[in-house]
């Protein structure tokens, strides 16, 4: 497939840490393995003869399809993480994500209302953090996950300083 990136040309993207793949893998495992196990329960019951419904083909298809989708997403994770990137320009921060569904967002420094740093248990173990930018719009969903803790702190300070310099009203 034609995979021309949608971002403006000539931007030096900073990539997030590859250790973030581990975080995504753990998240994937927690979400998907449990789901597949629960969905497989009817199959077990049908095989054991405890249940008469659903029919065998349905009991097989549902967990199998779920498993396939889950595996497909698993395969995508490393590429998705490599597709994450951000770039500090003079007046705004660019954040990009996605391979199939690409998104490039520009958040002007003067529009930032506040900056969050969040650290989950797995991220903490790996020394990573997530930086989140908030503007007055609920549509601004700008998350930069998988930053090394030091880089996250630097970015936050940088954003705060630039935001102050260019502060605008609503």
């Amino acid at each position: 497939m034609h995979t021309e990136a949608i971002d403006p040309p000539g931007i030096a993207w900073q990539r997030v840490s590859t250790k973030y793949i581990t975080v995504r893998l753990v998240e994937w495992a927690l979400a998907n393995i449990a789901t597949v196990l629960v969905l497989s329960a009817p199959l077990v019951f049908v095989l054991l003869g405890w249940w008469r419904w659903p029919p065998l083909w349905l009991a097989v298809t549902v967990p199998a399809a779920t498993l396939l989708i889950a595996l497909w997403r698993l395969v995508l994770i490393p590429r998705q993480v490599r597709a994450l990137g951000y770039a500090e320009r003079d007046d705004d921060l660019l954040v990009r994500s996605g391979i199939f569904f690409q998104r490039t967002m520009a958040v002007p420094y003067g529009r930032m209302q506040y900056v969050d740093i969040a650290v989950g248990p797995v991220e903490r173990g790996l020394g990573l953090c997530t930086v989140k930018l908030h503007t007055a719009s609920p549509g601004t969903n700008a998350r930069i996950p998988g930053l090394p803790a030091a880089e996250g702190a630097r970015l936050r300070e940088q954003l705060a300083a630039r935001g102050e310099a260019r502060l605008a009203g609503l």
Partner: protein, 549 residues
């Protein structure tokens, strides 16, 4: 009660003249003493109704008012009831007593609560909108609720319920004149800079602003006749559903010989009538006016509401035309205003974000000239006409490229954008026509989106993020190169526009270009709102306003 910002409001001591006005600045005021009862009248009415009906029926039937067994316990019950009532009334009174408000030094402050005290203060120059609401009973009593909105998207920052209507208007005028910077500017001279945030206190010149601000003069821009409102309701999508549903029920009944289908119609009809009534009640007598304070919207049949939107507070505008309205040339306008939020309570939010419930092309242009006084183009009429009804590249619009017509077989010639010096126009929809305007300096952030299908056709979506509200600007299926270019240009334009906007106090904006000013320009060049100024503060207002006009 205290936490949600609903408190008995401020009022003057009973008997104080509406000239409240003479109050020194730091005096704490209370809402009208009748407020708790106006707000609690539903409960009182319900109690009266139940007991009253019982009594009435018994009397009619010649029965004793109380049965024997009941009569013996009656004193206790009455005593208990009276105690509960007394506690409730005491609660009302205490809440009322401990609720005080004050407007001084660039802030409005409200203290509430007896056990859990809440002190809230909001900066006046952060005002996004001020509403004066009069529910029916309050209207009968000559009271009104004043809502002060800041960009919080949730509850109103300050709700004062209830004030005497004259006091509410007076307070609104005072708040607006200070928020605009007119009061501070006239009273303070050169010392007060652009920051209204100067701490209140004896040193703050604006605190010494003595006489009340006069209400800013206003010019009526348009009104919606009830007949047109009724027509717009009859021609709404809702009506189509009714007709389709009704026909379907009748056909089903005839086919199946089952009368049951008719019964479904009864509750449906009741609900629909309620819906229609709600719209009619809210939209009745809709009037828009312009004053140096901003846009004034008034509407309501039984419950009336008056909104004031100061200049530059409108974040995005949507002009929509459903297919049934097209033969009549009617349009509906909705806005995003930071203080109104997505829809607070659904019904309330919906009506408050309506800028024009139904209007003709001339009305739309008049409202646009208020929202966007500087259209940023030489031929605003041509551009907006193309945006509302045009296709292809007329009026400077860039549409979806022909290669992507399979993605939007009907709308690809409509979907498009045009950028003027002050705003981005996004149009869409072949049948449900829409035009969205976002002033450049109101863009929060923007994003390009592209899915796999769009990539095949080399198109992308551009999303502009604005504050919560009914308008969600999204340019769909623009050519990739155009979208990318727009993404860059739009960032630059938004940056420039932000630089030109220097302060929240709209009368003090130092930059003349691109700033919304209250003076209408363009197709509706009414007389300037000046000429009527009598007081000194007022004349100042006018001069300031005209400098920017």
């Amino acid at each position: 009660m205290t936490a949600d910002g609903q408190f008995a409001g401020p009022a003057l001591p009973p008997g104080a003249a509406p000239g409240t006005t003479g109050h020194p600045d730091d005096e704490w005021l209370r809402v009208h003493p009748a407020s708790p009862f106006v707000r609690g009248w539903v409960a009182l009415a319900a109690i009266t109704f139940f007991f009253g009906r019982d009594l009435f029926e018994r009397t009619l039937q010649g029965q004793p008012v109380f049965e024997d067994g009941f009569a013996r316990r009656a004193p206790w019950l009455l005593g208990g009831g009276a105690a509960v009532l007394a506690v409730a009334v005491l609660g009302f009174v205490l809440t009322w007593y401990f609720t005080k408000y004050q407007v001084s030094g660039g802030y409005v402050r409200v203290n509430t609560g007896l056990l859990f005290r809440q002190h809230r203060q909001a900066r006046l120059d952060r005002v996004q909108a001020i509403d004066i609401v009069q529910p029916l009973l309050a209207r009968v009593l000559g009271l009104a609720e004043l809502k002060f909105e800041v960009a919080d998207a949730g509850e109103s920052a300050v709700r004062l319920a209830y004030l005497r209507i004259d006091d509410a208007r007076q307070l609104r005028a005072t708040i607006l004149s200070r928020a605009s910077g007119a009061a501070a500017a006239s009273g303070a001279g050169p010392t007060a800079g652009a920051d209204a945030a100067a701490p209140p206190g004896p040193g703050n010149p604006s605190a010494s602003f003595g006489p009340p601000a006069p209400e800013a003069p206003e010019i009526k821009v348009l009104s919606v006749p009830p007949s047109r409102l009724l027509g717009s309701l009859l021609l709404s999508e809702q009506s189509v559903f009714i007709v389709v549903g009704g026909v379907a029920s009748v056909v089903l009944s005839a086919l199946t010989d089952n009368r049951a289908f008719y019964f479904y119609l009864v509750p449906a009809a009741l609900g629909l009538i309620a819906g229609y009534w709600n719209f009619f009640n809210k939209g009745y007598n809709f009037t828009a006016a312009v004053s140096p304070d901003g846009i004034r919207l008034r509407y309501g049949l039984l419950d009336t509401q008056a909104q004031t939107l100061p200049p530059g507070r409108i974040q995005a505008v949507k002009i929509a035309q459903p297919p049934l309205w097209r033969p009549l040339g009617w349009y509906r306008m909705q806005v995003n205003v930071a203080g109104y939020g997505a829809s607070g309570s659904a019904a309330e939010g919906n009506t408050r974000t309506i800028l024009l419930p139904v209007g003709r092309f001339a009305d739309v242009m008049a409202m646009l000239s208020l929202v966007l006084p500087d259209p940023g183009t030489d031929q605003p009429e041509a551009v907006f006409t193309a945006g509302l009804g045009g296709r292809d590249s007329g009026g400077g619009f860039t549409t979806t490229p022909r290669r992507a017509r399979l993605l939007a077989p009907l709308a690809w010639r409509r979907n498009g954008f045009a950028a003027t010096d002050t705003a981005l126009l996004i149009r869409s929809g072949r049948w449900w026509r829409e035009l969205v305007l976002v002033p450049h300096q109101r863009t929060q952030s923007l994003a390009l989106h592209q899915g796999p299908l769009a990539r095949r056709f080399r198109v992308a979506d551009l999303v502009l993020h604005t504050t919560a509200g009914p308008v969600a600007p999204r340019l769909t299926q623009a050519g990739l190169d155009e979208a990318r270019q727009l993404f860059d240009e739009q960032s630059a334009r938004a940056r420039l526009a932000r630089k030109r906007q220097t302060t929240e106090q709209w009368l003090r904006q130092v930059v003349p270009a691109g700033e919304p000013t209250p003076l209408p320009v363009g197709p509706e060049p009414g007389p300037t709102p000046g000429g009527a100024g009598t007081t000194e503060g007022h004349t100042h207002y006018q001069q300031e306003g005209q400098q920017h006009g």
